[in-house]
């Protein structure tokens, strides 16, 4: 049983985590943000992340044979690092997304993904 702030702290404790944002998917609003290198506009990052997620969901829905799609997480690897994005549905409100940016050298993608999954299960119960 986690609060949003504690969850964010734990996400930042994932090895190699550079910054993390909890986003309200519907509005693209920043719920909470952490990490030092978020220099500048967290809101812009959040808007970009939710747009990425939306476009992915739309695209996947279009190409999935059943037409329905449920993304649990998304991994984007770039030349400077990994972006890990986990989408979670909530019972009482709209969907949330937890985003974490990982260092290319210091992070372990499988571990990070596993930790994020465990954390989101403690944040919301389904």
């Amino acid at each position: 049983m986690l609060g949003i702030e504690e969850c964010l702290t734990e996400v930042m404790a994932i090895p190699g985590a550079l910054d993390a944002i909890v986003i309200d998917q519907t509005s693209g609003m920043v719920v909470a943000a952490g990490g030092g290198s978020l220099n500048g506009d967290v809101e812009k990052s959040a808007a970009g992340i939710s747009e990425t997620l939306r476009a992915t969901l739309d695209g996947l829905a279009m190409m999935s044979p059943t037409g329905a799609v449920r993304v649990s997480d998304m991994i984007i690897s770039t030349d400077s690092g990994y972006h890990l994005l986990r989408s979670l549905e909530t019972v009482f409100d709209g969907p949330l997304a937890i985003y974490v940016r990982l260092d290319l050298e210091r992070s372990n993608l499988a571990l990070a993904r596993h930790r994020l999954q465990a954390l989101s299960d403690r944040l919301v119960t389904t």
């Binding site: 509005s27 809101e43 037409g67 409100d93 919301v124």
Partner: protein
């Protein structure tokens, strides 16, 4: 008159704790200058969001509310009971507060009254800076306008089109809920309460659906109405068509009078039609039209028999079910002149 925004900024500067009551429009609760809760009758409250899902019983919420006090707030009691996680409660409060603030900040003339020390039973679960709230509300307004730049649908019943102008559509889960919940009478605010979803999310979904051409819009309905005189109207859309004018015309003392005046001398099919519309729901008269021998008749009558009266009807074609059809009627003009004279005599 100070705006809600300026009052909020002032209270934030004073690090005030208490409740800012905006008449019947709603309440904002502050703790140490930061907003911790807000509610307004037009948006679902935290209680509504919690109980709508069925996960938390209304009884559990009531119990937590009654037991709440300074030593242990209601929200903490709910978390203690294990019915939801702290994160879920926080996110729920976040949704409800943003929702209420979004609507409260748009208010024009509330009579604000601040009661220091008054607290909400949930207790502080999430702290919002006044400036952050204002900025987020602006962002949300922009987002709404980007989805569909018209407020027309915001307060009208949500009416999905019977047939979509495409072969396939992709929906979000909330858009699906809105379409399933739409019963052609519920407005976006009603749907939010019914679905237990934040009013803003529902509003956004409604505008997205409208942009995708999946909802009946007033313009489309007006366009149909203009055609309706030539051809029978398609089913489904009449309730969308601005329900306000017909309602105004509803007052039984006003509507029938012009009809009787214009009716007998003119005869023809037009008067019964006008008489029908303000009294019944706009759906019925339209369905009744075609059997009457086709809607072409009234139009022909308009063109040939009484060119002095019917022209008044044709500019008002977008609202055949409402009052405007009678605006150029000599009877109405006389009534207006008498009204004006009476008012001048009073002044």
């Amino acid at each position: 008159m100070p705006t809600v925004e300026s009052i909020l900024t002032g209270l934030a500067g004073d690090r005030a704790t208490g409740a800012l009551r905006l008449g019947k429009a709603g309440v904002l609760y502050l703790t140490g200058g930061r907003v911790t809760y807000a509610e307004t009758p037009s948006c679902p409250r935290v209680e509504d969001l919690l109980t709508a899902s069925g996960r938390v019983s209304a009884y559990a919420v009531r119990q937590a509310r009654q037991a709440a006090g300074e030593e242990r707030w209601g929200g903490d009691r709910l978390v203690d009971r294990g019915v939801l996680t702290r994160g879920e409660l926080e996110f729920c409060v976040l949704g409800a507060v943003m929702d209420a603030v979004f609507f409260l900040l748009q208010l024009a003339g509330p009579r604000p009254r601040f009661r220091p020390g008054e607290r909400h039973w949930l207790g502080p679960q999430w702290y919002f800076d006044a400036t952050g709230l204002v900025r987020e509300c602006k962002r949300r307004r922009v987002q709404l306008d980007q989805a569909w730049p018209s407020t027309d649908l915001d307060t009208l019943p949500v009416v999905p089109v019977a047939r979509i102008p495409a072969q396939r559509v992709v929906l979000t889960s909330l858009q699906w809920e809105v379409l399933v919940g739409a019963d052609c009478t519920a407005t976006p605010a009603d749907l939010a309460r019914k679905l237990g979803r934040p009013a803003y999310s529902v509003l956004l979904a409604v505008r997205q659906l409208a942009a995708a051409g999946l909802l009946c819009t007033p313009e489309a309905a007006a366009g149909d109405a203009a055609q309706a005189q030539a051809a029978p109207a398609p089913r489904g859309d009449p309730p969308e068509k601005s329900p306000v004018p017909p309602r105004r015309g509803d007052s039984p003392d006003r509507a029938p009078v012009p009809d009787r005046r214009s009716g007998p001398p003119e005869g023809g099919p037009a008067p019964p039609r006008r008489g029908d519309t303000p009294e019944k729901s706009p759906v019925l008269p339209r369905r009744g039209d075609p059997p009457e021998g086709g809607p072409a008749l009234p139009r022909r009558g308009g063109g040939q028999r009484t060119p002095d009266r019917e022209p008044g009807g044709s500019p008002a074609a977008p609202f055949p079910a409402g009052l405007p059809a009678a605006t150029a009627d000599p009877g109405d003009v006389n009534l207006l002149i008498r009204l004006r004279n009476a008012l001048e005599a009073l002044a």
